[in-house]
Symmetry: C2
Subunit: 109 residues, 2 copies
DNA sequence: AATCTTTATCGTAATATTGCAATATTAAAT
DNA sequence: ATTTAATATTGCAATATTACGATAAAGATT
């Protein structure tokens, strides 16, 4: 045990959970925010921005990339990372839809 | 090691990460969706809805509650669980804001 | 070519998560 | 009072995550 039973859930449920899981760490939230903050998406100084060791940040970036939240391409010596808008749009519409559904309910708690 | 370094991040970053982390599992996404789907928020049949054992679901509900995503109150024999709209609103506005910021950028990846 | 810079990977220790059987709890029903 | 029903807690095994030192890889600089 200990492994998530993804087979039992829908593709959409797994997809949203994957995105949410990747954002479920303050360092990865901070990375996302930093990538958005800097003007250009060529960014080689994330390590200096965060209080974590370089391998740790590299690992977090890998997770964000695997989840589809960021894109990365080789840019000479360094790597160009930037946010994948489609993933954010997906989350945004998911929660917007949830909010709409919730508004229609009468609170009972 | 192995423990998240929450001290180094802002309250907001940790707060969003906590919400995202709680939603980072398909079973918990499914629970949220089910809570929204049913008309009344008195719900005692989540166990029958999901392919997981009762203790497992109880644990997932606890995590959602700890994260502030759902509210629960004792309703006689059973428990009345329902989604906390404020948490969803928080996520919705967070990602809406991210989307807006991303629109203003010129893609370079 | 040797060195520097930047990012990735490996290995490993500490901790957290996932899942469930067994059991406990608590209130309703009999 | 006993049984039933619903939910929570405990204990535990399997697996995943977090973090970082050491090291590797690869292009840039000298």
């Amino acid at each position: 045990m200990g492994a998530t039973k993804t087979d039992f859930f829908t593709g959409k449920q797994n997809s949203i959970a994957t995105l949410a899981k990747a954002l479920g760490h303050p360092a990865r939230i901070a990375i996302m925010e930093y990538l958005i903050k800097v003007d250009t998406c060529i960014c080689g100084d994330i390590v200096n921005e965060l209080p974590l060791a370089q391998p740790t940040i590299s690992q977090h970036l890998k997770e964000l990339k695997n989840a589809g939240l960021i894109k990365g391409s080789i840019e000479g010596n360094s790597i160009c990372y930037c946010v994948d808008e489609k993933a954010i749009a997906k989350l945004q519409s998911y929660f917007a839809n949830m909010s709409i559904k919730l508004e229609k309910k009468n609170n009972c708690c």
